[in-house]
Amino acid sequence: MSGPDHKSDPGNATGGQLPAGSEAAFSMRGTLLRKNLMTALLLAPATLWLVVFLVLPFVAIAIFSVGERAPEGGYQAAFTLAQYANLPARATAFWNTMVLAPVGAFACLLVAYPVAYYLALRAPERWRLILLALVVIPFWTSLLMRTYAWMYVLGGRGIPALLAYVGIEDVRLINTPGAVLLGIVYGYLPLMILPIYVSLERLDRRLLEASADLGATPLSTFFGVTLRLSLPGVMTGFSLVMILLLGEYLIPTLLGGGKVFFIGNALVDLFLQSRNWPFGSAIAITLVLVSVVVLIAANRISARLSGARRVDLI
């Protein structure tokens, strides 16, 4: 390092021809620079995280998806769209997922909305936090464990055994579509309740009074004001749950008996068992694209219906 030179350098560079007040401008630029540096430093960890764990894997998957399966499994460099052309081979899995995700999310919504409504608008103030905590606390246990628990509750020695005890024989609960739906609603309920709760909590209560004042019955107030203004929360919850359901395979496997295949199953199979990484990657990319489309659509719809200028998804 050149000690004395270094110090006089900036002065020399600007050479004293600057008009009065330039010193202030100069130091302001310095402050700005420092501010930018600070911002960059603060953003660095998050950026690094996103690059390493999101962008790079995504790029890798994208590259894999136009490659070929190596003879012994895995990936072999190539450029072909053959994997995408092969997507119809898994059409059933796609179709099942495309049914499961919205239906599951909708079932979740039907259960979550009344709960969120009660919490936000009806529950006594001092109970609200406790009730909210009760909604969230089960989330602290792994979903896998909770789903296993349901296997026992719904299985032969669970509820059916109890029903048999009171004389109702041969009730089959586990390995039915109903069991899958139950597992999904149970598992994803908090993700649906919380955003709806937030949007209802923020609702200006005087709007409800104004609606009643203008002659609207409680029912028309609900559909005309409450529901419309809570749509951003509904859409957030719905897209959150739906996107997670697009990749879900655990609950259907455990509670549905694994007879129906979803994209999640297909991905596990292709990456871990048959080791056809390029085809798995093509499916994964397609899944991501579908998710993005769903997100954008949900955002647009709720923005239009609730009259909000901008809708934050989460």
Binding site: D204, R206, L207, E209, A210, S211, A212, D213, L214, G215, A216, T217, P218, S220, G224, V225, R228, L229, L305, S306, G307, A308, R309
Partner: protein
């Protein structure tokens, strides 16, 4: 045939737990009047309005609208509409949708042609024709105020309720809206009930002012009555500016009392309630009933402390020995007021009949208004 009051309160009390917001109010609001419920915050005026609207139920007593007891009638079945504080316009609807919201609730249903026709008329009435497709957040505060008015009036309510409707507007706009509201009320010919804590607003707009304090109606009357003949010390002090002078009753003669002030001066004042000799009283003297003249004549003597120039008028704060500071108001145009400068000695005179004597609250504190609150609340 006596007209049925549009709004009637019969012994209405409203309690929230241990707190009594409104206690035993009897009130009849005549048809087609502009009535202001005036009082300091927490006096129960908003609670009264909300009981008319149906958002609160009286704990005791009855609220009647056009002679019908409203007990058990929800807000959406009452023939009244409200202009809410900060308007409560629906943010997800545009201006026209906001205005037609009430029309859409009507059963049997109105045709969409009829709805848009009426909404258009309402928009024109509040001078917002052409604004129908605007979003609420694109409007200024004054425009939002007009939308709220149109949204309520389009339903042709028997009574329009206004909850501090002008509080959010700046002073100039507020004055314009005061005139506009008055014109609207005369045009439509329905009862307007306005809640306000602004005495100037209440006096300037309404046909009747109902002054409330501590959950009770203290006085109901025309603005000039309220101002000139306040029922008690609270009204005298709350409505308009006034000087309160403490003294003792020195003599009684009919409607008049002689009050000996602290400095020994005896002034003659009218009384509103029976007073007895020796009783401690407060004498209310409006600033504009005081006149200033060069010292030498009779009346109270004082020294000009401040001159507050207000354009058409000027106010003087006059320091009077052992009585305190008195506020006087002089018409600027006559030039009389301009003669005096701070530091000058003056004599204060007043018109006979101007001073009003009221019994003083029991504990003789320095802050009259606080004492009065305590007295009325207990």
């Amino acid at each position: 045939m006596t007209a049925v009051p549009d709004i009637e309160f019969r012994a209405v009390t409203k309690r929230y737990g241990a707190v009594t917001a409104v206690s035993g109010i009897d009130l009849a609001i005549p048809p087609a009047a502009f009535v202001a419920l005036l009082g300091p915050s927490g006096c129960g005026k908003t609670t009264c309005l909300r009981m008319i609207g149906g958002f609160e139920q009286p704990s005791e007593g009855q609220v009647l609208i056009r002679g019908r007891d409203m007990a058990g009638t929800p807000p959406y079945r009452r023939p009244v509409n409200m202009v809410f504080q900060q308007y409560a316009l629906f943010p997800h609807l545009d201006v026209e949708e906001n205005i037609s919201y009430g029309l859409r609730q009507a059963r049997p249903r109105l045709s969409s042609r009829e709805i848009s026709l009426k909404a258009g008329e309402a928009l024109a009435m509040v001078q917002l024709a052409g604004y129908g497709r605007r979003k609420i957040h694109e409007l200024s505060g004054g425009q939002q105020q007009r939308v709220a008015l149109a949204r309520a009036l389009v339903n042709k309510p028997a009574v329009l309720l206004l909850d501090e409707p002008l509080a959010a507007l700046d002073k100039k706009l507020r004055t314009d809206m005061q005139i506009e509201l008055q014109n609207l009320q005369r045009e439509i010919g329905i009862t307007f009930v306005l809640v306000t804590h602004d005495q100037e607003e209440a006096l300037s707009m309404s046909d009747f002012v109902c002054v409330m304090n501590g959950g009770r109606v203290v006085q109901l009357g025309q603005p000039s009555e309220i101002y000139d003949e306040p029922a008690d010390l609270f009204v005298a002090d709350f409505v308009g500016k006034t000087n309160l002078l403490s003294g003792k009753v020195a003599g009684l003669s009919g409607d008049l009392v002689d009050v000996a002030l602290a400095d020994g001066t005896v002034i003659s004042a009218r009384k509103r309630v029976p007073l007895s000799r020796g009783e401690a009283v407060s004498v209310s003297l409006r600033p504009e009933s005081l006149s200033l003249s060069a010292p030498g004549g009779g009346g109270l003597k004082g020294i000009v402390r401040n001159r507050i120039f207000l354009g058409s008028t000027a106010e003087y704060a006059i320091e009077v020995q052992s009585i305190g500071s008195l506020l006087t108001k002089a018409d600027h145009m006559t030039g009389r007021g301009n003669l005096f400068k701070p530091g000058e000695p003056v004599a204060i005179g007043f018109a006979a009949g101007a001073p009003l004597a009221f019994p003083q609250p029991k504990n003789n504190g320095t802050n009259q208004r606080e004492d009065q609150h305590v007295k009325i609340l207990s």
